[in-house]
């Protein structure tokens, strides 16, 4: 991969961002709103992909990192009366601390035990949200007040609930995370992660401290997911416990699998595809989870590499 000019990677990713920017002016209102949501959730999927795709660690508990950002930001606004930027930072900090603690504990296990442990920690987090209902709103959730959802740049206030501002803010976050992920996976550190995924013992033998590299991957992944959660709370104004449930741990896995694990653009493609598949399917039937189930099984049976993974294998070997 070294011999290909990095210009090509950045050109491809900047082109994707440019298309998304153009869509802001072209999409009809319904799809415009949907797309803003997809961009935020694609950030969640990218965070998941860092750990699952690159480091090869399958977590079944990532909803807790998303929810940490969601509640970190939401509770800071509702109970402490913070503005949007410090609340976003609070969400990030919650995600970083939580992922550090969870990483330190759960990385002592591996394989199946790692999946179950992460699922259990997420379940504890979910139950804790229900238990502390007086502060978190329990299963009703909380509405983030609209007057707090304002981003002031210079003297100009931007209302985050305005569709245009919301879309562009989501796109800005998406673009920043996408480029950061690209830089990260092309760095030395990204290669060490892939080496750990492919053969951990050999990587240890080459003199790398695999534990701290994996721990860093958990923290990076958890923090990105928390960023998505915090942005979700501020942009869409709702903080709810269903985002901490098992389903929101499975969904990023599904999105990454559909788009292609260990590809930088796969998470976006997977989120986009699944969101529209479910959107179309729910027009015909209320049983959209059935679609999720069938897609999951068909994917692991016939398409284990996902869309971009297969494209990379067949045609574009250079795809990051």
């Amino acid at each position: 991969m070294r011999d290909i000019a990095p210009a090509r990677f950045y050109a491809l990713h900047l082109a994707v961002i440019a298309v998304l920017f153009a869509l802001n002016f072209l999409l009809p209102a319904y799809h415009h709103g949907l797309m803003a949501r997809i961009l935020v959730l694609a950030v969640f999927a990218m965070g998941y992909n860092m750990l699952f795709g690159y480091a090869g660690l399958l977590s079944l508990g990532h909803s807790m990192f998303f929810a940490a950002g969601l509640y970190g930001a939401g509770l800071a606004v509702v109970h402490l009366g913070w503005g949007a930027p410090p609340a976003f930072a609070a969400g990030l900090a919650c995600g970083a601390v939580l992922s550090l603690v969870i990483g330190l504990l759960s990385l002592r296990t591996s394989g199946v035990a790692f999946m179950i442990v992460t699922m259990m920690f997420a379940q504890v987090f979910y139950l804790a949200i229900l238990y502390f209902a007086p502060w978190t709103g329990g299963d009703q959730g909380l509405v983030v007040p609209r007057q707090a959802r304002v981003l002031t740049i210079g003297d100009q206030p931007f209302d985050l609930a305005d569709p245009q501002v919301r879309y562009l803010t989501a796109l800005a976050l998406f673009a920043a995370v996408l480029l950061a992920c690209l830089a990260l996976v092309r760095s030395r550190y990204g290669r060490v992660l892939v080496a750990i995924r492919e053969n951990e013992e050999r990587t240890t033998m080459l003199g790398y401290d695999t534990f701290s590299n994996k721990l860093a991957a958990v923290v990076v992944s958890g923090t990105i997911c928390a960023a998505a959660g915090a942005a979700y709370a501020l942009l869409f104004g709702y903080v709810g416990s269903n985002f901490a449930g098992v389903q929101y741990s499975i969904l990023p896995l599904l999105w990454v699998l559909v788009g292609g694990a260990a590809t930088t653009l796969g998470p976006l493609l997977g989120t986009l595809t699944m969101y529209y598949v479910i959107d179309v399917a729910s027009g015909y039937t209320t049983a959209y989870l059935l679609v999720v189930g069938v897609v999951l099984i068909l994917l692991v049976l016939f398409f284990p590499k996902g869309i971009l993974g297969s494209v990379r294998q067949r045609w574009l070997g250079w795809l990051p």
Partner: protein, 293 residues
């Protein structure tokens, strides 16, 4: 009610949930032990057993005992057939790769759950117990049916244990668990053993569900708690260890019954889950388990 009788009541309730839990967890543990895969859809087989029990009992009508015993025979058979088919069609083609099977069984979970919601509906429905005799203790009356559930579970657990340790089938299963390749070299049909074990695990969950359905009703989301509790039991008992599973089921079932009678159930569940996660982190072989190879 005074503290003593209250505790007795809690213990009896705990015994009933321990009985059902040990059957369900044993199914999960067998599948994990022999096939080395985690079946996330296990709770849905439990739910399916209960829902089918309602369907069978309400179709037959007549005396409650007739419907109940028909359900006790038919429902596990149907669930076993579904499990067998999904093993043959999906899991065997994935070569039992741990990550792929987890994803596939998650898919199975969603499919079964949604189909149940579509065809059975969101209501919770009861099945009449085969007999409604009440034992009158000095302090309170207690349903004899609940005690017979405990007895039935003990009989079933004993027979599974006998099959595993005393019969040719059990020997074949243990050989497959111990070393898949060598077993195959000795002409053991490993593929068929896997399919059988997967079906057996699902059937145990279905039997447990049929037993519990006259006490708690059938509902399409009822598989979630047994799944989590079974995970807890299997982990505490040591993954794949049969004796550990039984001891842990008794421990968890009893303490779940007693704790949730005196404390908030959410808090109890929260602490239990956290403790179990810690066990898995610091003592991965389980509290009673033999060390894994």
């Amino acid at each position: 009610m005074a503290f003593g009788p209250h505790l007795l009541l809690a213990t009896l309730e705990g015994l009933v949930s321990a009985a059902v839990l040990s059957l369900t967890a044993l199914g999960l543990s067998l599948v994990f032990g022999v096939m080395r895969i985690v079946n996330v859809a296990h709770g849905e087989f439990f739910m399916l057993g209960a829902v089918l029990a309602w369907a069978i009992a309400s179709t037959l009508g007549g005396h409650p005992a007739l419907g109940f015993f028909a359900a006790l025979v038919l429902s596990p058979l149907i669930v076993g057939a579904i499990a067998w088919a999904s093993e043959r069609l999906v899991l065997s083609r994935l070569n039992y790769d741990p990550e792929a099977t987890i994803v596939a069984t998650i898919g199975l979970l969603y499919i079964i759950q949604q189909l149940a919601l579509t065809f059975y509906g969101p209501e919770a429905r009861p099945v009449a117990p085969p007999f409604s005799y009440r034992l009158s203790l000095p302090w309170f009356g207690y349903s004899a049916y609940k005690l017979s559930v405990v007895a039935a579970a003990i009989v079933l657990l004993l027979s599974v244990w006998l099959v595993l340790t005393r019969t040719k089938i059990g020997l074949v299963m243990r050989a497959t668990q111990y070393d898949r390749e060598t077993a195959q070299a000795f002409a053991i049909p490993v593929e068929r053993v896997y399919a059988g074990v997967f079906a057996l695990g699902a059937m145990l969950a279905a039997i447990a569900a049929v037993l519990i359905v006259p006490i708690s009703q059938a509902h399409y989301l009822m598989g979630q708690d047994p799944l989590l509790l079974s995970f807890i039991v299997v982990i505490i008992g040591g993954l794949g260890s049969l004796r550990g599973t039984l001891v842990a089921a008794l421990l968890i079932g009893l303490s779940d019954g007693i704790v949730s009678m005196f404390f908030s159930p959410t808090l109890a569940k929260m602490i239990a889950t956290l403790l179990v996660a810690m066990v898995l982190v610091f003592r991965p072989q389980g509290l009673f388990g033999a060390t894994q190879r």
